[in-house]
Symmetry: C2
Subunit: 316 residues, 2 copies
């Protein structure tokens, strides 16, 4: 995909589907593909394969490949597929090459995880990957401590379509956006719906979302409101989502993916538990609270359920 088209897609919602496991704990590619197909059918603008909500770090390289393939198959050309890559720079370059060969539209680089990472050398990591990648890159910035000049260097790289900005340093964001080339990388809110209004006010466009796994209508409604400049409407929908997003922050955000997966299973696709070091599953009380919330959303037509869905078990 051209970098211009990819930038356009990034102005929308970048959804991050979960990875399904079977009863033996192995990646289940058919159910995983269904999760991706559902997000694409809902009209999500960009689909990120094997992101953090897809448990990237808990997967082996071979499993990441299976998820990327399931994503391309499930999305089936209805939206760009942005394949998430990472680990050592050499491995990330290899994964980017594989993603191009399997028909992905772009790659997203996970943040480097080395505990001793210099801000300038983290930028080098992303730029070296962008140099080596045939596909446009989205750089996932989660670390603190970058200067405006360093973020601008990243944004102005010719093969970087977007920066998934995932720290709460809104002053850095506010200063970097006007300092960067307006035709360079798009700055995207990397902290989902709850942060999208403030990031949009600072000049970012689009946002990433785990909520799309179960309630893509609500994500798209937040996006529509922000595109119209209707911050009050966006805040109202964010307020509705807030109990869901807040539950994801439990256990030092160890429940982040767990809440999403339990909601997808509620909706009729059994995607299994979360692997360690994520919280494997919710306790009975949290699960009941989640189900109460989802029943309310369901009554209002806000969640996606499977046509062949079985009655939900007694938990809720």
């Amino acid at each position: 995909m051209s970098i211009a088209s990819m930038r356009k897609a990034l102005t929308g919602v970048s959804g991050v589907p979960v990875t399904a496991y079977d009863g033996g704990g192995e990646v289940e590619p058919r159910i995983t593909a269904k999760v991706y197909a559902r997000a694409a059918a809902a009209g999500i603008h960009n689909i990120v394969a094997a992101g953090n909500t897809g448990e990237f770090y808990a997967l082996t390289p071979q499993e990441i490949r299976i998820v990327h393939e399931a994503a391309v198959a499930g999305v089936d050309g209805q939206a760009p597929v942005t394949a998430a890559v990472g680990r050592s720079l050499r491995e990330a370059i290899g994964m980017a090459r594989d993603a191009a060969a399997m028909g992905a539209s772009a790659v997203m680089s996970h943040q480097p995880v080395d505990p001793f990472a210099a801000p300038s050398a983290q930028i080098d990591y992303f730029c070296n990957l962008a140099d080596a990648s045939a596909l446009p890159l989205v750089a996932y910035v989660r670390a603190e401590g970058f200067s405006v000049a360093e973020i601008v260097r990243l944004a102005n790289h010719g093969n970087i379509a977007g920066i998934k900005f995932a720290t709460t340093d809104l002053m850095l964001l506010s200063r970097a956006i006007p300092a960067a080339d307006p035709n360079g990388a798009l700055f995207v809110c990397g902290l989902a719906e709850s942060w999208a209004p403030t990031f949009t006010a600072a000049g970012a466009r689009g946002f990433t979302s785990g909520l799309v796994n179960v309630a893509p209508k609500l994500s798209l409604a937040v996006h529509d409101a922000l595109e119209r400049g209707d911050f009050a409407a966006a805040r109202a929908i964010v307020g509705k989502l807030e109990p869901f997003e807040r539950m994801r922050t439990k256990f030092r955000s160890g429940a982040n993916v767990t809440v999403v997966k339990e909601a997808v299973t509620y909706s009729g696709l059994d995607v299994g538990p979360v692997r360690a070091p994520g919280l494997p599953q919710l306790d009975q009380q949290d699960r009941e609270e989640l189900h109460r919330l989802l029943r309310g959303w369901e009554a209002e037509g806000d969640i996606q359920t499977q046509p062949d869905r079985q009655a939900v078990k007694a938990a809720g």
Copy 2:
């Protein structure tokens, strides 16, 4: 190695050698083996292969294997080799199996890097790895937010020889040590010489070190002083090391490995730059400051130099 012998080794200095690269940026196994041999010859009690000072996260799995092999060859039975393993749990289990086959004495699990990690599930990650490993495990705790009960669960696992405790939460350490089984895992200071006196006062024993790459005598002198209970002597040596350790914290600790590698190169073993996202090399001013410090240590007989060392280039 028996878990009792491994616990004993951990009461000493756990040295973490650097990984050497050749001019083309590839891992250089012969020079890497020499770095390991030098630490062992100096009497370091436990040698950690492919730790963070060894750039674990910047290496591919195949390169990690090469480093583990170079470590076993270089140490040559003079000390236990603790092979560092990590990434997804499945990969860590595979690396632990390989480490046992190549003759390592123990494995150390790097901290899980998933951004959404629940404290209890991080403990599960370590315990599941310890269950699966034929070799005793050292668990590397870098994350915040654990309860005393969670740390005690880790310490009391039958196949965990030690906890490399690498956060500054000294109250958690002080409470966990007396609550854990005294015959369980040893609590080791994971923040090197500078933190060793305070950790020792809280009940930890032994410490990890990157300084051993160039000045093992100083590391061992800190250790001897703490074993004697002579905190004033330990502080005096730590004060001497302080400019070295402080320089390692530059660029948000992005210079951590860089300072060590430049010092090893100064000593006569050219180990090359650091890979991104570490700082590749020091600027001229920092290098000159480092060389001044090392010349002073050299004059006092505190650093290890190679017998065949060339005159150091003009930099200093």
